[in-house]
Symmetry: C2
Subunit: 395 residues, 2 copies
């Protein structure tokens, strides 16, 4: 199950133990882009990386074997909120953690559930103690506190776990954003304190990432980034972006925060984004991304390609028997035609969603792997600029 | 695209050309079971065989690669009614036929659309000329005649195509069954006559199977089987069974008909059935089967195994982290646990349906492959009797 975890067994996962090793391999000389390698108990993560979202212990419509052999992400994401509600921590513990439960031997990162509590559940009440909410499934009452979320994430057993924060909406009143940020910082202290008391459960250590908040206010982002940096965590995340603000504001905040966060630790921009967003943020110093866009849009028939997006449901593809994508990144690109995929969507056949999902994830992973290669080769910026132009197109 | 089709190119597909070669390899000495090999332009079909149903140019939720490498049926089934309505014959012809359209290089058999017209469409009117019906998709009006259905099947381009018949319901009034059977025989003559005029389209020949009807009346079944046998087709089908009659009646009719149909041609029992039905009918001399049961029941969480059926949604599997099926026929059986599959069904995740479908089809194909091996080894009957007892169980 575990690959090369022997070195890590015996670590107690406090922050001082640093189970996650991050090696900065190359810095781009024409941008702030970086290529690195993170090493955990479940193998190396080559950065920049995109993490497919596996909400309920599954990347929707994708077999684990396809993830492993075709899409090949070094790490995937699980949602604490969803896994806590279904199957629940009892089953997760019985299985020996999420890796074993779902049969995924690569790395996993879990979010803290905060974002879903704010976006999915009814009647949520945010207080200093934590958040009370009703399950979106059956309306049952629950409470998430920083302490409880750390325990849940210990039980899920991901390689990287996230602080419990408040993700503010956009736009957000300055005073609200400031108060919320300070509460997120206090919650971070409670997370750290509690993690020291609750050991990890399945023989492999867990790395903990705190999250920078501060909405779109530079002074708040600066203050938050400084606070987060001061914690000395193994990696750091930027939250509260890609929530509706213009892309330029996202880039401005990401750059400001990346410049403050320590250079020798990975930086994770949560919930981002389009292929263009990803390349632009790589240029600003971000190393890790996740987003439902490639999978969710796939299920609606939208394909991302190196030459722009395709709505495969359009009639124009009805008689186009050419391969799905001439780039042939994954098997679906060459084994199926555009006309066939369109037919599957028109006929409401789930195989259509499966094919589009594999295509989109394959493309996203190709994109970050290519970015890494270009950073290593020293020509990232001209390539990035060409790709951004080329992808900004509806085919 | 085509495997070993060179020998067949140049054949004109009339009945006298016999593009389908059937070699009877072994007859069981303790039953009427047979092992054979059918050879077509798209490769060998080892019989007995089960054909997964690929209604709308896709076996629901299964990639073509999984069919080819994991489930490994020598032949799959497409539905003329569905393919005619969506994507339609124009697109099918543009693609160069169904094999190319869906990217399946193995054999395909298409039904004649009759069964779907009777079961799915509204306001169907059956007359001597043919059947008028409304599309179940948009209510548009269509007519299927024997001639038209032959043309549609030429355009779809399957390796084996079926006569246009009337499939009577169960129970069926004797006089209706008799009149219907005679009309089915007249329709058969029209199919044969029209096929001579319409050549096949894609460089490979098509074999044509007529269909025995006669409801559950022995004299009608006998008369129909004699009529069908007299045609001298390359293979023969038994229709109008597995429509609600008791299994014993199905077996009685199948045996009666098999005893009349020529021994040197494959026999196809349409729409059958459970794993037990399949083994019992193999013992009576049937060579080919198709049924939506393994795929449809999979999507409802029902698994077929060598030790009986499983309803994976039951709470009893919630904490069962053992492999899905210890037999390990396909990768899903060992890569996923019962508890994980149950979670996917409870959480309404489509991957659950995908896993169950591959499991069930893998099991059905294992079953017919095993039957063949036992026939060849000479111990089919004791194995069949053990399996029938063992599978008649809810786990």
């Amino acid at each position: 199950m575990l690959r090369g975890h022997a070195n890590w067994v015996g670590y107690i996962c406090g922050l001082k133990d640093m189970p996650l090793k991050f090696t900065l391999i190359q810095k781009d000389s024409h941008s702030k882009a970086r290529a690195g390698t993170m090493t955990t108990a479940h193998g190396d993560i080559q950065t920049p990386i995109f993490m497919p979202v596996g909400t309920q212990a599954t990347v929707k419509g994708v077999h684990q074997r396809e993830l492993r052999d075709d899409i090949r992400p070094d790490v995937i994401l699980g949602n604490t909120y969803h896994l806590y509600l279904r199957p629940g921590t009892g089953i997760m513990e019985g299985a020996g953690g999420l890796h074993k439960f779902m049969g995924w031997e690569g790395n996993i990162l879990t979010d803290s559930g905060g974002y879903q509590v704010y976006s999915l559940s009814e009647n949520r009440k945010i207080k200093e103690e934590g958040v009370k909410f009703k399950s979106h499934i059956d309306g049952s009452l629950h409470i998430f506190t920083p302490e409880k979320v750390m325990e849940i994430q210990r039980t899920i057993g991901a390689d990287i776990i996230m602080a419990f924060d408040e993700c503010t909406p956009y736009p957000c009143d300055y005073q609200y954003a400031k108060r919320s940020m300070h509460m997120t910082h206090r919650w971070l202290d409670r997370c750290l304190e509690h993690l020291e008391k609750v050991p990890y459960k399945y023989g492999h250590p867990q790395s903990f990432f705190p999250i920078v908040q501060g909405s779109t206010y530079k002074d708040l982002r600066r203050e938050s980034a400084q606070y987060i940096a001061s914690v000395g965590a193994e990696g750091n995340a930027i939250g509260g972006l890609s929530v509706g603000e213009p892309a330029e504001e996202m880039y401005e905040m990401a750059e400001l925060v990346c410049d403050i966060l320590p250079e020798d630790r990975p930086r994770y921009l949560m919930g981002v984004g389009t292929p263009i967003n990803i390349l632009e943020n790589i240029a600003l110093g971000v190393d890790m991304f996740d987003c439902v866009m490639p999978t969710r849009n796939a299920r609606n028939g939208m394909l991302f390609t190196a030459h722009g997006t395709i709505n495969i449901k359009n009639k124009k593809w009805e008689n186009d028997f050419s391969p799905l994508d001439e780039m042939g990144i994954t098997f679906v690109d060459t084994e199926y035609s555009k006309a066939y995929l369109r037919h599957l969507f028109v006929a409401n056949e789930y195989l259509g969603k499966q094919i589009a999902t594999i295509h989109n994830l394959g493309f996203y992973l190709w994109l970050v792997r290519s970015a890494r290669e270009r950073i290593l080769a020293g020509d990232f910026m001209p390539w990035k600029n060409t790709m951004v132009k080329q992808m900004d197109n509806r085919r």
